[in-house]
């Protein structure tokens, strides 16, 4: 999937891509569709990594692109489009996580039984599934930082631009997110005992 997105993006030269974004910002729907085609895989991948399921990822991606279309005229520099769109995607994920948190709050039963036997911690660390469940315990900001850094391999400056925070703050938050993931992993193990 990553390769497919990269190939699509590579077929669109930087100059014509800027032209496409400018045209889309003037209301050209066809140009916007081409922009969507180059960014859809990446945006969906980011959303799915943050949210963890197809349905929410589809909703977040869809909402993000519609919002991007609506507000594209406000984007002055087409070169900033990627970071701008990424921010919208992350915000869409935030919104869905908030909604999901509210729903979860309603549905949880007080007698929820977490008494399953847990595997040894050493086994859990190598267990992607357990790590993924630990990741689900993190808030939207921590998930976003880890996804942009460890999955998208974006430079710190780019992630900072996407999240609208200074690079120094990002470094601190990245370390904090990793620490939170470690604690969540411990908690996930405890919850399964």
């Amino acid at each position: 999937m990553i390769e497919r997105a990269s190939a699509l993006a590579a077929r669109v030269p930087a100059e014509s891509r800027s032209d496409l974004i400018r045209a889309a910002s003037r209301g050209d729907g066809d140009a916007f569709q081409q922009v969507v085609a180059t960014q859809l895989d990446r945006s969906y991948r980011t959303a799915k990594a943050i949210l963890g399921n197809e349905e929410d990822a589809r909703d977040a991606t869809q909402d993000a692109f519609v919002s991007a279309w609506r507000d594209l005229a406000a984007l002055r520099d087409p070169a900033q489009f990627d970071a701008w769109l990424q921010r919208i995607v992350v915000n869409a994920c935030r919104t869905i996580l908030r909604r999901r948190a509210r729903v979860r709050e309603i549905r949880l039963e007080p007698s929820f039984d977490r008494g399953d036997a847990a595997p040894a911690l050493q086994d859990q660390v190598g267990d992607t599934d357990v790590l993924s469940r630990a990741f689900d315990r993190l808030d939207a900001d921590k998930r976003s930082i880890l996804v942009l850094h460890h999955l998208e391999h974006q430079p710190l400056a780019s992630i900072a631009a996407t999240l609208g925070i200074p690079v120094g703050t990002l470094k601190w938050r990245l370390a904090d997110a990793r620490g939170a993931l470690a604690r969540a992993l411990v908690a996930e193990g405890g919850a399964r005992r």
Partner: protein, 469 residues
Amino acid sequence: MTSNVDRQLSDAAIERMLRARAAGAPPVELAPTIAALAREVVQRPAARSTIPGLRRGRGALLLVAATLVTGTIVGVTIVGNRDLSVPSERPVAPAELSASPASSVAVPSVVVPAAVPSPSVVQSVGAPHDFSAEAWSGPHLITDEIGWVVTVASLYRTTDGGRTWTDTAPPHDGPITEQAVVDADTAFVASSQGSSSAIAATHDGGASWSVASLPVEARFGLTLLLFHSPLVGSVSFYRQDDRLQVYRTTDGGATFESPTIGSIPGREKLAGRGNGVMWLNLGKADNRPFDNDHLWMSSDGGATWQARRFPVARWVRADELKWIVGTPLISGDGRIVLAISNGDRTGLFRSDDDGRTWQELTAVPAPPGGSRNATYRVTDTDWVYTDESGAPLLTSDDAGHHWRALMGDQINGSDSYASPTHAWTFHGCSRKPRPFGTRRPDPWCDGNTLASLLLETTDGGRSWHPLGQ
């Protein structure tokens, strides 16, 4: 245990986990769906008006008011902390009040579910923002740190006293027709597109929005939002027959129930709305003195109307034309404070019995053409009265029982008070040369090149300064 986890929680393990979570191509229908939705969504314009009509009209008023600063100060009849409560010369007897709700016709009940919350698009997170060229419609200072600024295009929110701002980017279909700020976290935005109208609501300071779609067109582009609290309020629309179609909500805009058709008494015209109420204009717009008419007010979005008596002023003839200025204040225990004007003076009145009898609190001379836009702010028991005549600000710390004047800078603005001492106002700068006779130059406008300035006071209006300075 934790060190063991840290040691084994490698970059590779995290990446492997994230790749597994992200695995899978987007659904094939996603791109066409986005394209279809984009065709239905209107793009927001990039440029915002630098000198909006709102500002131009307001600026003209301010210019007129500025020329009369001297005269308005001289005529004020209040000094220091003196009790301003003066009984009305002709109190209205309680028996004269005939409060009867207007008939309303219920239409089949329809619960309109809220749409899926739309994505929050924060375009400028915590960034300084210059509102001088914005087409604003009001500042809302909620606490010393939290405030909103409403522009024609968006809602901005600050949590650090105005040093930085976040564009909360409320979702909307079509032009934004009205916005309502309720408290630090709650705001509503109405927009209309074709035969439907969308009401967006946020209850977390604009971090997220939900949208309810109502199957009604905003005739004349008018959507009337009235909220008494974050949860209870109404959205009203003009119908072709000049009646009002009222949707009420009791869950903060998540759902709207039973559209009701409100019959406006005498088929009069709406005069204004604010502070959770609407009132009818039986004065200037219809060129009718209101002494013999009722003061019609509605607190349910125009579904029903209650009749009260208009206050009677000693300084104006019974048959003389006069009208309400500013926004009446109505407390839950029957207290009403409102201002009326005849063009020469503006009088502030208080009723403690739900409009049966009135006391005239003060009368302030108005500039030629009449005083405009008297405004109020309620914070529990702290009430503030000001107008654009440049007169001293009046404050009350006992819910309108007693008032005192504050002498200081004569700001002509529509103010918003977080407390009796801390307030914001938008101050309009005129591009025209200063008129002869102006006592002092405008200390805030830079060569009259700015459209407006957001000013702050922290001493109850005695002095003002540009926000952030």
